[in-house]
Amino acid sequence: MRGAALAGTGALVRFLARRDRAGLAAWAALGAGLPVFNAYSLGALLPTPEAREVFAAGSDGNPVVAVLLGPISDTSLEGVVAWRSGLQSLLVTGVAGIVFTVRHTRAEEDAGRREAVAACAVGRHAPLTAVLAVTAAVNLAVAALTAAALALGPGFPFGGSLLFGLTAAAGGTALAAAGALAAQLAQTAALARTLAIGALAASLGPFVAGARPWPLPAEWPRLARPYADARWWAPLVPLAAAAILAAAACAVSARRDLGSGLLPDRAGTTGPAAATPRLSGPLALAWRTSGERLVSWAAALAVVGAAVGAVSVTLDATFAESDLIRRLLGRLAAQSPGDALLAIFTYVFCLVIAALSVVVALTPLAEEERGHAGAVLAAAVSRPRWLAAHLLLSLAAPAALLAVTGLASGLAAALATGRAAPLPAQLAATAHFIPAAWTVAAVALAVYGLRPRLAAPAAWAFLAVSALAIALWEAAVIPRAAFLLTPFAYAHPTITPAPAAPLALTLLTALLLAVATTSFTRRDLLT
């Protein structure tokens, strides 16, 4: 009986590894690459024990870092690298694992392919087992690669590096198992991802309140102390979480009907029998199909933005004397430590919104691949008109999301401090970023018009390179002049804004959108 429930697992494992080989390789490379990158950049930045002591004191004074990463307990270079990289590695392996498990469980079910697989000689538990087995294998590869790279590259002790890698691998697998459970509970893939990522974000709650409970993910990386007293039991904590979550996912999977979930489908299966007069053009259609998503993003950004804005008051009082803040204050044209930190956070929000802009800009591609574009264009709708609806959304979405973030964070900061100044400052800062977000969206759309099959990889690569440039410039790897050529540079909080840059990016956006329209009008439709 047990054997029957797992029949076909091996074949499915090979299939998953084959189907997503590029993505799995990127996951392993990124998971192992970040700690190595940190080892080199922190080694260059903090070569001496004294520098690291100062850095540790400064980090303790940085509330965001203190919340997310906790205090530095081991000020050796290895210790600082492990401290800095632990959460990163957990998030890389964990988010990749969540996306991967949902993609191969609920998304397959949504698409009707799970049914085709289930009709074969494949056991009830096989698909879920196969996904989790591949996830665990990739994470083990991350652990092995991390240990080897840290030992061979910067010459860290192999044992500690292996423990560090194993902790991240176990943590990532536990988050993937949470994704697997969410995929069993939710009735759509989108809801499953939201549920899993949302639960991960919510688990940070106690840390903001000042506690560090060890069963929660953000504390897992801190349990091992790989380069100090090396607690080899530490990976067992996330491993136990992984086992419990995976068992729960299997239990739900074994009891439910195919296509069902425990949580109801938000939209329901019925609706109006006729269209309202408003639903009569490509723009109304685009809003109808993706508007809900934009509204929920805006709501989430408003809540998080307001929370961060309100926190800035307490920073004024607590961290005014902190070394890090004083250094940041020197570089930022900010009035108070709170303003400085808020500016840094706002920039991070802007980068997140840039990524969301890419998602919106790739919507016409998805519509074309699903055959929806063909259905509309076979009616009396011209190509420029259809594309214009999506161009408009691609421009309006980042502008609206940035405005909401600026308004919510600025208003909350103003209310909390009793000063009016943060509101216009935040609105200006987020508005300042709009041309940068437009540029990444326009790049995606231009490539979509020219070579639709390349649009998604090109757009994400452009975003990744632009974001990486920030890190490289901050680590003094690339010169300021090179950084200034990337779209996010001029909005960086430590760079004095020059009005020419946003203007140039706006013009570039217009040019790219013209390219998108003319090329889309001339080419064959995909499906």
């Binding site: 076979a378 011209s382 439709l525």
Partner: protein, 351 residues
């Protein structure tokens, strides 16, 4: 009669695949034109060219007096299309989708829309993701049939419909045709085409290999005769006009050229007829003739390949007539010159 669709020498390649290879197609105003061919023959590609969704690499094409690529929007106001693979927005209900597509086309007949929803037994308040394949097809059909279009482009429109709904579809299409609507019906449901269509075009490997009125195509081909005889006549195979002869004891099955029917029947009568059926060629006979490679026809093939595979495997070894078929007269001539074997008969021969 005015020509609604006119394509000549259409060529479209996708990478190394030549989807359309000098395709000619004429559809006259007011007719229901059957467009037949196996999967991969180029039917959908033709329709996508006619809709201006893709641009041909060569050839000439006119639709309703305009250029499908350049005048797409103006032309699409006058036509309605049902895709072979109906793609609906999962979050929209069937009713919303029907209305939306109708509005995007430039309006739909409200009363007819409600009537068709009723006739097809469609629940318009369900979201598209909850529909079965047949119901998705109904959404697309109701939307297209309730338009005020003068041309309907239908790509395998009855896939997934149950037999009752298929009958309803035929009725609706006949009604539209009586109103003067022109229909290009791509299909491989031969009974449907036989029941509905005035003229048919058969496409193979990107070319139309046969085109004309169904009655004309029939007249120029052979009648299948099955007879139970007292004693099978000797050397019947040598009789002029007899093809694909198969003798099974006292029972003979053969195909007879229409011009030689009299003498052949006389030979059979002389052998003492106990029972006899004569059957005109079905559309299936006409269709399969173009998809049976010579090896199969000779009975030498080890296994009968599926029609489309055969067409791909032996694109040059043409069992059918030459493909430069412009008019129905040409088609008829070449049909008469075709090799004398029907695919179905050749298969029974081996079994």
């Amino acid at each position: 009669m005015a020509t609604v669709i006119s394509a000549a020498g259409l060529v479209k390649t996708f990478g190394r695949t030549r989807a359309l290879d000098g395709l000619d197609l004429e559809v006259a105003a007011g007719e229901i034109h059957g467009y037949l061919g196996p999967n991969g023959a180029g039917k959908t590609t033709t329709l996508r060219v006619l809709l201006g969704l893709i641009r041909p690499d060569g050839g000439r094409v006119r639709l309703l007096g305009g250029d499908p690529w350049r005048d797409a929007v103006a032309l699409h106001r006058r036509l309605a299309y049902v895709a072979g693979d109906v793609a609906l927005w999962p979050g929209l209900t069937g009713g919303e989708t029907i209305d939306l597509l109708g509005r995007l086309r430039g309006g739909l007949d409200r009363r007819r829309r409600d009537e068709l929803v009723e006739r097809f037994g469609l629940d318009p308040s369900k979201r598209a993701r909850a529909y079965s394949k047949g119901n998705r097809q109904k959404v697309a059909l109701v939307s297209a049939l309730s338009s005020r279009a003068e041309l309907l482009l239908l790509d395998e429109p009855t896939t997934g419909l149950d037999p009752l709904m298929e009958v309803e579809f035929r009725r609706c299409l006949a009604e539209r045709a009586r109103e003067g609507v022109t229909v290009l019906l791509s299909s491989h449901v031969l009974a449907e085409v036989e029941a509905l269509c005035d003229r048919v075009s058969i496409v193979r490997a990107g070319r139309v290999v046969e085109s004309g009125r169904l009655a004309d195509l029939r007249r120029l081909t052979r009648t299948t005769i099955t007879a139970d005889l007292d004693a099978p006549p000797p050397d019947l195979a040598a009789e002029p006009g007899v093809h694909a002869l198969r003798a099974d004891g006292p029972r003979v099955t053969l195909q007879a050229d229409r011009s030689r029917l009299g003498p052949i029947l006389a030979r059979l009568a002389a052998a003492g007829v106990r029972d006899l059926t004569a059957r005109p060629p079905t559309l299936e006979d006409l269709f399969l003739r173009h998809y049976t490679p010579p090896a199969d026809a000779a009975g030498a093939a080890a296994a009968a390949p599926p029609a489309d595979a055969a067409a791909k495997a032996a694109p040059s070894a043409d069992a059918g007539p030459p493909a430069d078929v412009g008019s129905s007269a040409d088609a008829a001539r070449s049909a008469g010159a075709a090799p004398p074997v029907g695919g179905r008969e050749s298969r029974t021969e081996r079994s």
